[in-house]
């Protein structure tokens, strides 16, 4: 904690006086003030997504209920329902699914890198990092607040998608373990969102330029996701849904913690 730029009088209090508690309300205000564009966009996008998914999901479930109670299944009327379900409904379901899959990295690309890189680029770090709270805790508080502002909505979205997509698991030959379904259900989706955000923050601190860090974040995330899909997942020690979910969420959480640690270490080392 040697990096604290505490006022001189605090030095007189002796080594026994630990750092003061983090002023969370203050940091909440600072985070909101610095990232309000992002936070408003995420909130609006979240509300629109939830509304859209509810409307689409209710229709899909309605159509599926009609289809599954239709007798006899070979009749022309039932065939018509089936055709509609496997074309129009399935098409919309796929569209929602792809959009949800792309969302974490696209949001994290805009949320992560600016946390440190924009302070450096705009030179506001000279002011921000010399406050009483200290630069490490300043950054840690912003990461914690922004991280939760992304991960909690992501968790809600993934649960909503699981509900919306459930009928297709029965009609389209998919299972819980199909990579695209696995990624967007359970704990994995929230964990991937978190890791994307932490990756962005770390690369922002490393590259020190927002735009470049955004591009690198995108590339690294795609690389990590591809590696997981085509290699790592085949080598998990567990093979059923919930153990696999916990295992994947676990290592993603550890990776996120390491990336946050790396970010704070870079912030601490940076010569102000």
């Amino acid at each position: 904690m040697t990096v604290f730029a505490g006022v001189a009088s605090r030095a007189a209090q002796g080594a026994a006086a630990g750092p003061r508690p983090v002023p969370w309300p203050g940091m909440l205000w600072v985070t909101w003030r610095q990232h309000r564009g992002l936070l408003i966009t995420v909130a609006v996008g979240f509300c629109v997504a939830v509304a859209g998914m509810l409307v689409t999901g209710l229709r899909i479930h309605h159509d599926y209920a009609l289809l599954s109670t239709c007798h006899p299944a070979a009749s022309a009327a039932c065939q018509g329902l089936s055709n509609f379900f496997t074309s129009t409904d399935w098409h919309e379901g796929q569209f929602v699914h792809v959009a949800v899959q792309a969302a974490p990295v696209l949001v994290a690309m805009f949320a992560g890198p600016p946390v440190v890189a924009r302070e450096l680029e705009a030179r506001t770090f000279r002011f921000a990092w010399t406050q009483g709270i200290g630069r490490v805790r300043w950054t840690a508080a912003k990461l914690a607040l922004l991280g939760s502002a992304l991960v909690l909505p992501a968790f809600v979205i993934s649960q909503l998608l699981t509900w919306l997509y459930a009928p297709f698991l029965r009609t389209q030959g998919l299972t819980d373990l199909t990579p695209t379904v696995f990624d967007t259900s359970g704990l994995c989706y929230a964990a991937w969102t978190l890791v994307a955000f932490c990756l962005g923050a770390f690369l922002g601190a490393l590259v020190r330029r927002t735009l470049a860090a955004m591009a690198v974040t995108l590339g690294s995330y795609i690389g990590l996701a591809a590696l997981t899909w085509f290699y790592l997942r085949n080598h998990y020690p567990v093979k059923t849904y919930w153990p696999m979910q916990l295992f994947e969420a676990g290592w993603l959480l550890i990776l996120s913690a390491a990336l946050v640690g790396g970010t704070l270490w870079l912030v601490r080392r940076y010569a102000a």
Binding site: A102, P114, T210, A215, W229
Partner: protein
């Protein structure tokens, strides 16, 4: 041309014509300011291209085995069934991932190249220097837009061709064709056209917002809207044909000619030409392809044959090009009007 900051030349009654554009210098300036983009975009595309060639050769090889199987032995034999399983479980997931990334490629390239083009000059204040050079701010903007646009379109065109070759084996097994939205968008001249329009949207929004990151985010949204509009209007292009059949429309495909035609709408008329009753119509429309139809009834289809791929490509690339040019013009007009 009133904005040119030429030195005053007393004694001349009328303003002299502006000096010719120093294109070679403009190339240098563009390169110098955007070398990160101009290096990283081709480098990333080249790396992905190497992967696509290697993986594509394997996919084409596996596909040739499949075609051989189904033409000679049918799909019944053990070896053929195994070949199909391998193709669907190992080749297709990777190709599908590539296809999804390929959908994002135009907007990512376009937004990262377009949004900072003018917004960064305004954000960092370098526009005060850049825009007061003898060449003039409009011609500076036009030169940068044109040089980057041409570079991106050429790169995207070449990359799209490579991807189309790579993706070709999967059309048949995944029941797609060249008119399927995601395939149509990533092939021919439509793929570079989407890249161009993404770049134009980025440049325009960058000049409008004057800040890089918000412009970049907005570009993603606006591009998505353009793409959805394109998907929505595509079926109204004047390329569809209407045919009446006395057998149920046969949607055949072979490994050599993959894909069904795109059927926009179907309806049934009874004897005498009036619309058939819903129950008969349903029976015919949902009947097996190639099946017989009761005498006197006709099944009508409004559909787009696969052979109309190129007219559709030209129509779509055409309006995307017009939209891009309009956005470039709006961008230059904003540059002209911005008080330096």
């Amino acid at each position: 041309m009133s904005v040119l900051t030429l030195p005053a030349q007393p004694g001349q009654q009328t303003a002299p014509p502006p000096p010719p554009v120093p294109w070679r210098r403009m190339v240098w300036v563009t390169w110098r300011q955007h070398r990160a983009t101009l290096i990283s975009v081709p480098a990333v595309l080249a790396a992905v291209a190497v992967f696509l060639v290697i993986f594509g050769l394997k996919a084409h090889h596996d596909y040739a085995a499949l075609v051989h199987c189904s033409l000679n032995q049918g799909q019944q034999t053990q070896a053929c069934a195994q070949a199909f399983r391998t193709f669907n479980s190992s080749d297709w997931p990777l190709a599908n991932t590539c296809s999804i990334l390929m959908q994002l490629a135009p907007v990512l390239i376009g937004a990262f190249a377009g949004a900072p083009l003018l917004a960064r000059e305004l954000e960092t204040g370098t526009f005060r220097f850049a825009w007061t050079q003898g060449v003039g701010r409009e011609r500076l903007a036009i030169a940068k837009l044109a040089l980057l646009a041409v570079t991106l379109v050429v790169l995207a065109g070449a990359f799209g061709e490579l991807f189309s070759w790579f993706f070709q084996p999967f059309l048949w097994t995944e029941e797609m064709n060249r008119l399927t939205e995601t395939v149509f968008d990533t092939s021919g001249i439509v793929f570079p056209a989407f890249t161009l329009v993404a770049f134009a949207i980025g440049a325009f929004l960058g000049m409008l917002f004057r800040r890089v990151i918000p412009a970049l985010a907005a570009t993603l949204g606006v591009y998505l809207a353009v793409r959805l509009v394109a998907w929505g209007v595509r079926k109204y292009y004047p390329v569809a044909v209407v045919t009446g059949n006395t057998k149920i429309f046969s949607q055949f495909q072979t490994p050599r000619v993959p894909g069904y035609p795109w059927i926009l709408s179907s309806w049934v008329t009874g004897p005498g030409g009036q619309a058939a009753s819903p129950s008969v119509a349903n029976q015919i429309l949902n009947g097996p392809p190639g099946g017989s139809i009761p005498p006197g009834y006709t099944e009508w289809n409004r559909w787009i044959p696969l052979s109309h791929y190129w007219p559709m490509q030209f129509i779509e690339a055409g309006w995307l090009l017009v939209l891009s040019i309009a956005l470039f013009a709006a961008t230059v007009s904003l540059v002209r009007r911005r008080a330096a």
